[in-house]
Symmetry: C2
Subunit: 115 residues, 2 copies
Amino acid sequence: MMKKKQTKSAPCCPPAEPMPPVPKSLDKANAQLAALAKAIAHPARVAILRMLVRREGCIVGDIVDELPLAQSTVSQHLKQLKDAGLIRGEVEGPRVCYCVEPGAVALLKALVNGL
Amino acid sequence: MMKKKQTKSAPCCPPAEPMPPVPKSLDKANAQLAALAKAIAHPARVAILRMLVRREGCIVGDIVDELPLAQSTVSQHLKQLKDAGLIRGEVEGPRVCYCVEPGAVALLKALVNGL
DNA sequence: CCCACCAATCGTCTATCGACGATAAACGTT
DNA sequence: AACGTTTATCGTCGATAGACGATTGGTGGG
């Protein structure tokens, strides 16, 4: 019989996209930056992103109990980050493994540094 | 009698704060980054910020007719940027002169690059 | 002194965010 | 097949964002 939590940090996160193209059009770049900024425009999402960057191995519900938020709320934040392309989720058995999309983070940095 | 617009780019923006301290606490840093990100989480605000960075001289209502938005809407966006500390407004006669707060932008870059 | 101009504020409206509990969906295990 | 575990989704609620028109507030010019 299992205990409680199975904090198994599986070795997921396989491909890792190279790096989304930096938009040539100014308007496109502005929209891109705005979208990425909105994705990290909440402390919890910043915390999640940082958490995923630190542990290159992915995590799942570990995130939930590192944050003072309900599971459903964390799931929504994860969805926003995923929709923005900053992270990627992968079903790993019963759990889901999230990991950073390094290219997207690089794009964010490039866009911010290009201000 | 004057023509229409007086696109006078006056030499405002005097002191320029050095650079706000990068928060030591993780939570503080997350909150800081989230707040700054929220400030640029809209294409119009990114456009405004970029516009102000390019022309180190400040501008005012020039911003309004570079954007497809009503004057009041632009004013609100400016307020958000100002509240976030990213820009500074200074009454220059009848017009108001906005300019970038370089330290805040530097802080934003530092926080993003520190992800 | 009044007027024109520029910017900020107010009031309103709709849409989205953020949070939660409850429920559903997927999977491994027994 | 039924169960428990894990995550996503739904429904709700209050709060906030985003947009606009209209109004107010300053300031310089007549």
